[in-house]
Point group: C2
Chain length 110, copies 2
Amino acid sequence: MAKTALNPQNLDSVATRFRILGVPLRLQILNELANGERTVTHLVEATGSTQPNVSKHLSTLLAHRLVKREKRGNSAFYSVSDPAVFKLCEIVCGNIERALEEERAAFTGG
Amino acid sequence: MAKTALNPQNLDSVATRFRILGVPLRLQILNELANGERTVTHLVEATGSTQPNVSKHLSTLLAHRLVKREKRGNSAFYSVSDPAVFKLCEIVCGNIERALEEERAAFTGG
DNA sequence: TGACTATATGATTATGTGGTTATATAGAGA
DNA sequence: TCTCTATATAACCACATAATCATATAGTCA
């Protein structure tokens, strides 16, 4: 049954998705977008990165449909297109905390 | 509230986790391990990759505590240490299928 | 001990990509 | 039109790392 989680066909797609999420700045951007749509300028300020860099990562996120874009006036407003990404982050955070917990236990308990 | 999902401290850790999962062969290995503990030799055959390559990826997975190892006799038996990874894969698969669905809808419906 | 099997690891190469810089595009307002 | 602002993109560099090859380590059995 666990076999159903991944089949050879979408294995690459799944890996790609994970790789997209494997860049701190991109996570930072997504995290910022968790609060609603944001302009590039806002994301540049929020992340402390450069405008071209943020734009490039937004392009990547857009190309893989993790965000969507809406141009209004002079600005581009980005927003998360599938909130499931935050579910992913939560699970990973849970994993990490559990791992830290185990490390702590290993120190104190033997 | 969405802010709680990621904070600057674990942002790198989360990204690293995702990056670990962002390699097809590693997903293949994990997927194989979903059925229970496996030896390196078995994983080499199951994945069609080379022994050194599989061993190296197992080392990576082990270093990041995604799998655990137990040596018995001449062999090393690997198993998944946190089944939450499969939850991740399921969500990502869901995302991808949803994206495909939307593409299909875009073709037919407008 | 020696032969065999299983696994790990070091060195090397090739490729992908994140970040930077400079520049292009495009809309708003005068 | 010109200027300003916002965003995108192209060229480049630097670094990380996946894959390969060769070799080392370690356990089993005779």
